[in-house]
Symmetry: C2
Subunit: 224 residues, 2 copies
DNA sequence: GTCTATAGCTTGATAGAC
DNA sequence: GTCTATCAAGCTATAGAC
């Protein structure tokens, strides 16, 4: 541990700015949040944002990068811990589980991060610079294990399955609250454990449905 | 038809502003786009934005509302045209097909609209005011038909299935391009017909996996 | 590493002539 | 319904003292 004094509230300025930025970017969007709002919430002076991160865009990149590293490490560890003959559900859980557990017990920071990622993943504006840069290497490792769990599947089907998975995952962890209203209160976006227990079989069955060997010949993918 | 002259390029100012706003909001976000950028692209004066729509937020709402009406009508018509014993795939297609066909043949406007909707659907910021307001009534009609196709399913499972469907659909029509890079060019986000042919069986299988009658008792939803 | 002060620009909104 | 002109407020970024 560094030269930290007694008080537990001594958070380095860099982290204070990152935390405040993450929270505010999650509530709205990159453009809706000013450096003034960020530094005000962080309790530091405006000029310190530029001193520590350079231009605003680099601060946004740093917000995405910070937890991406942790998430990538946890995902790789979970993938490597899988048995050689792991079923598809377990492979998917190695990818989604680390995000779930962090959102469940990581406090408001990880929930905010999930909302930022939902914006980044669903806009072509950020896709190449942020999603591809920070998440594609681990995605490739994940897809390699999916391939092993689905022998005979063609690559295109697996890629599109992954695409649907990302769509379902990002909107889930963003906790938008839409289903809460739509269901008249019977479902809660915040009940991530219940959603995750359904997401795994939903996605696994989806993968299997489009990765079957008979998906090649017919023009339309309807299935009995 | 109103008093339109001969030239086909005579688009009313209101529509010109909506078209420009839709295009620009799709490229970035609500906050990244200024009224000056919008009116400049529309080829009209700045003051006309406020004259026709009031504050900026109302313009955004109008962008979402315009095509929502058309989409809702087409979805309801497709749902009503379904046979009484329509399988789940056809019910899902009644919901997704109208968006697909518009994105395929509606020119850049519908593609831009899809990107706006992806932002709106994936952020809690817009959920209640826009998604719920403009899309939930038809979503309820859709869910009623899904229930008929899945006898014995409990409501919670159907709501969460719909939630995953929305996540997969919105990221699909947004055409972010991530899979293009991830797949090394083997898949193209713009190839909506190919994606849609996989999305239908993927989602239908997912619904069936979580809506089985035996999903109630066990704590975890893993399935052979 | 932190602070004050400020330059240079853009923003949404509107008043008022036509 | 459209135009010009403008206001007050906000923005990012930085220079320079400490």
């Amino acid at each position: 541990m560094p030269s930290a004094p007694a008080a537990a509230t001594t958070v380095p300025t860099r982290e204070r700015i990152l935390d405040a930025a993450e929270q505010l970017f999650a509530e709205a969007s990159y453009d809706a949040v000013s450096l003034r709002m960020i530094t005000r919430r962080a309790g530091v002076e405006l000029a310190l944002a530029n001193y520590h991160f350079g231009p605003k865009l680099e601060l946004f990149r740093a917000v995405v990068e910070r937890r991406a590293s942790d998430l990538n490490g946890a995902r790789l560890a979970a993938l490597e811990a899988l048995p050689a003959d792991a079923p598809l559900e377990q492979v998917i859980e190695a990818f989604s589980g680390p995000f779930l557990s962090r959102s469940l017990s990581g406090g408001p920071s990880w929930k905010a991060y999930a909302r930022v990622i939902a914006q980044v993943a669903n806009s072509q504006r950020w896709t190449s610079a942020l999603m591809t840069a920070y998440f594609d290497p681990v995605a490739q490792a994940f897809l390699a294990r999916v391939r092993e769990s689905l022998p005979g599947a063609c690559d295109e089907d697996i890629y599109w399955g992954f695409h649907f998975l990302i769509g379902a995952m990002t909107i889930t962890f963003a906790e938008t609250g839409r289903i809460d209203v739509l269901s008249g209160g019977r479902c809660a976006s915040s009940d991530l454990a219940a959603i995750h227990a359904r997401m795994l079989p939903f996605l696994a069955a989806g993968f299997r449905a489009i990765c079957g060997p008979k998906n090649e010949s017919p023009t339309r993918g309807s299935r009995a």
